[in-house]
Every structure is written in structure tokens, then in C-alpha cells.
Symmetry: C2
Subunit: 153 residues, 2 copies
DNA sequence: TATTGTTATACTCTATAACTATA
DNA sequence: TATAGTTATAGAGTATAACAATA
């Protein structure tokens, strides 16, 4: 009972590498990744499945390749991810009428519900993982990280 | 010649997941990791080799297990990492006289020089990767990330 | 000829379990 | 019996190349 409210945190890095932002960043990212994977486990999903579902929910029907390019998942891996999602009844592969090489990947009703539920779970997991930071600090962290990306194409 | 001074930056995430700090963090960490691996390539090293060398340089002779615990590298993996470092002539395995199951891993002279050179390379790579941030912003980022670790044991 | 999706393959990284030598 | 290091093996995750259907 003694560790009831104790949230697992990443253990500190040994001294020399703890001064490298790159190493600290990598470690924190690993920790967040594990928290997100745990949060998605009840649905039998990993973060890349969630990414595909979330992109589909926001950008309507897309081909596997189109999603893969957005999410940086190569097409061979996309096949397996979509296999998983199809097996779970969350997306459907429908041939594009205009170009029959393409699929129009579409969310099923169950897929739509799953996106909503998993998004809430992901947000909770992130809030938990980042709970040592205030709301303002979290926003600041997000902003600093976002500024490292290239200007959008 | 047109892209001469252009530094590769991570491409932005697609809209829904770009709002998740966890996903942004993971992506930035991947980018940093790649930059560090590229920086260490001239020495035939990866980040985990550098970690072991850096810990050894700061904490004197240690057993494989002791380093592994600090750096979160399991003992089977440590064997291969130390094999690599030994093959490169950067560390030596000397049996601990008091407990002959243990090694006293020690840096060779070449190992010491390599630590200094690679540390400089790693710092340069980090500075490059984080160059869109001011010095103050970098320090702030590091501080925010560091506060997510558990209090040291 | 080029492209989407598929399959098979390989390579890296990591984790597990069994083995040895020492304690 | 327990521990440090070793070895073999297996499981993810990811990348590459060849193939079929379609353009």
C-alpha cells in the first residue's frame, strides 16, 4: 500500500551524460513512449496504430502510402499496421474507384469511437507522465520542442 | 550547392498528433539520436559506447554490471559493447584481485583521448541540432526535461 | 515505365535463459 | 546458494528488394 500514489519516473542518468541534452531527451522520450504504450494496451494498440487512426479521423479517407508519408511509417510496415487495425475492425480497405492501385482507408464506426477513447487515454497518460511540470511549464516545453521542426512544407 | 548551409530538421508531425507532447518529444529525440550517431560514426561508436566510455572516465574502474546499472544496459548487451571497445583498444578488462568474478574495466590512453574527442563532437552535434534555440532556451529545455527524473537515489 | 500494395528477407536492438567460474 | 560474465537464442522493430496488379 505504501507505493499507491507513487508514479514511476525515469531514473537519473549517470553524471557525465546527464549534462547532454540529447541523452536526457532520449531518456525522457523513452519514458513517455512507455507510458503511451501502456495507456493504449487495453485496446491492443501501439502508438503507431494510434497515429494512423488519429490521422484518418482528421484527414478523411487516405491511401496507405499517404498516411505513411505523413507519419513516417514505410509502406511495408504500413501493411502490417493496417492488417492489425482491420483485424480489430477499426478501419476498412476500400479500393479507390479512380485508381485501383490505391485503397481509400476509412474508419469504421468502432474505429471512430476508438479514436475518441484512446485520445482521452493518451492525454491522461501524458498529463501523468509530465505531472512534475505545471501547466505553464508543459506548454513551454511543447513550444520549445515544436520550434525544432522544419517550417512546414 | 544550393543546400550547403541547410541543416536537416525533423519534418513536422501531422496535425492531430502534433498536439501530443509525447509524440513531439519522441520525434525530436529520434532526430537528436540520429545526429549523435552521425557524430560518433568516425570513431566507429554508437551512443551506448560513448556512454560507457564517459562513465568510465568520470567514475574510474568499474565492473561491467556496475556500468550497466548506471546506464541501463543489461549485462548481456554490456558484453558486446565492451567487446567492441576492447577490439578498438579503448578499454581493458582486468580481473579484480579481490573478487575474480568481476572485471575492473579501465580506460586505455587511447580511450581517454577518444572520450575527450567524442565529447567535443557530441556537444557540437547537440548544438547544431538545437541551433534554432537560443542558449537560454536550450538551458530552459534541459532544465524542464531534467525535472522529470526521479529524485536521485 | 512507374507506382501501390504485398511478401520475403535481413539486420539491429533488446531480452531471456542456460552455462562457467568464482564466491 | 548466489553472482559476474558469457553464449545462444528469440522477439520486437525497421529497412530492402522482388513481385503482382494497375496506371
Amino acid at each position: 500500500m505504501e507505493n499507491l500514489e507513487r508514479i514511476e519516473r525515469p531514473t537519473p542518468l549517470p553524471e557525465p551524460v546527464a549534462r547532454h541534452t540529447g541523452f536526457v531527451l532520449y531518456k525522457v522520450a523513452q519514458f513517455l513512449q512507455e507510458a503511451l504504450d501502456r495507456a493504449l494496451e487495453p485496446w491492443g494498440l501501439k502508438t503507431r496504430h494510434y497515429t494512423v487512426l488519429a490521422v484518418l479521423a482528421n484527414r478523411g479517407p487516405l491511401s496507405q502510402q499517404a498516411i505513411g508519408q505523413k507519419a513516417r511509417i514505410d509502406r511495408a510496415t504500413m501493411v502490417k499496421v493496417v492488417d492489425d487495425l482491420e483485424r480489430l475492425g477499426l478501419v476498412e480497405r476500400r479500393r479507390n474507384a479512380a485508381d485501383r492501385r490505391l485503397y481509400d482507408l476509412t474508419l469504421t464506426d468502432a474505429g471512430g469511437e476508438t479514436v475518441a477513447a484512446t485520445e482521452a487515454a493518451v492525454l491522461r497518460a501524458e498529463a501523468d507522465a509530465l505531472s512534475p511540470l505545471s501547466e505553464e511549464q508543459r506548454a513551454r516545453l511543447h513550444e520549445l520542442l515544436a520550434s525544432l521542426f522544419a517550417p512546414g512544407p
